[in-house]
Symmetry: C2
Subunit: 207 residues, 2 copies
DNA sequence: AGTATAATGTTGCTTATGCAACATAAAACA
DNA sequence: TGTTTTATGTTGCATAAGCAACATTATACT
């Protein structure tokens, strides 16, 4: 894997990397059709939030270290407004899509290095998105919860999982009704399938 | 954008591209944990199908020219079986993930070219996956249909859209019940929001 | 510390969606 | 061309999930 720091340090004429910091709850970006920005999350956690016409909130995605995001990856529609909010203190790197895709006259080493970095990040990101689809295509709340928890468990190599946001947000993330989800969580506990440890930690009693 | 043919022609010692053809309904690949293969669809159309423990079929994804797929992008779980089936005659290119990610001793030009190609394909793919998530996170069948149709409409620059598979498969793709979806399609027609043209073509009367 | 705000937990009722079963039409096949 | 298979269309009933309203607990704020 390419060293991120190396790419940051390697100043180049053909692209410009800008590093920025954000406090908790600050808006990192909102998706506007015209810009074509790419963000790489260096540290912290953030959520991509969408408000639809009726004002309903959806957690469209959750980002952590190494996540790539930005309106460059979205077909931005006029009827929904998306923004990325830091849920913890964040450090991000921004690049313009055009800078990445354009060919520099002489194939410069730095550009190739940037490509390699982005390729690696996009790889992981694709896997992440596929997992997310795996979760939300499940038909019942119970199945969504179980698959999502399993993903978290596999990622952390542990049967004890930490949900990276509030239960209220989890419901939005799984795109289900919150109280229905609470009901289901209780049912899963009653059935001895999961066990609540604290606020956002559960122990999985299945495999 | 890098020319695909150029990459195919550029023989290199550090990676191996293999071109394969598949007839309609043939299985292109099934996702097995151990392999780390990447497929690029050169021509044709294919669907990624999952059968869960209970035998329910889900259309997890739909691939067309330029799509990238393979178990390399999946956290393959033991409890669901996935396979890619050609829905039309297909030509695909296969590469091993390890060949892409490994560093060759001397940074070879061909490898950089391959990286650039893959980066471009993954870009588009990420956008595609995000659109898909946009669709299935919608809470009602009606909204799912409308957003999906809108996506198709934007892609084809036309209010007349072609659903790339049967209505039965569309229901699996949106992960909703088929008869409930049929009911909703009819309701959308009755409400003058869409208009059926033929088997899998609809005209959108909204924007 | 005390107040305001947001998250969690719980319930009764409503509704959209799932499910099953069937008829009809269209493809696929031989 | 006739036969089999698959897709489409439709319905009544069952149920999971949505919604609203509220109490309780935790967190944030000054």
């Amino acid at each position: 894997m390419v060293d991120l720091q190396k790419v940051i340090d390697a100043k180049s004429y053909c692209y410009k990397l800008v590093e920025k910091s954000f406090e908790k709850n600050e808006m990192i970006t909102s998706y506007i059709e015209k810009r074509k920005q790419i963000f790489i999350l260096i540290s912290g956690e953030a959520t991509l939030i969408r408000y639809d016409v009726r004002g309903n909130k959806d957690i469209v995605d959750f980002f952590h270290e190494g996540s790539v995001f930005g309106e460059a990856f979205y077909n931005v529609y006029l009827n929904s407004e998306m923004s990325v909010i830091a849920s913890k203190k964040c450090k991000v790197l921004t690049i313009m899509l055009d800078d990445v895709l354009k060919k520099c006259d002489s194939r410069c080493k730095n550009h190739d290095m940037l490509n390699e970095l982005l390729l690696n990040l996009l790889f992981e990101n694709t896997t992440h998105l596929n997992s997310r689809i795996e979760v939300i295509t499940k038909r019942t709340i119970r199945e969504k919860l179980l698959i999502y928890f399993k993903t978290l468990s596999i990622e952390s190599y542990s049967p004890i999982i930490r949900i990276p946001f509030s239960l209220t947000d989890l419901a939005d993330f799984l795109s289900v009704n919150r109280s229905a989800m609470m009901r289901e969580l209780k049912a899963l506990e009653d059935d001895g399938i999961i066990q609540k440890i604290n606020k956002n930690r559960y122990k999985l009693l299945y495999r």
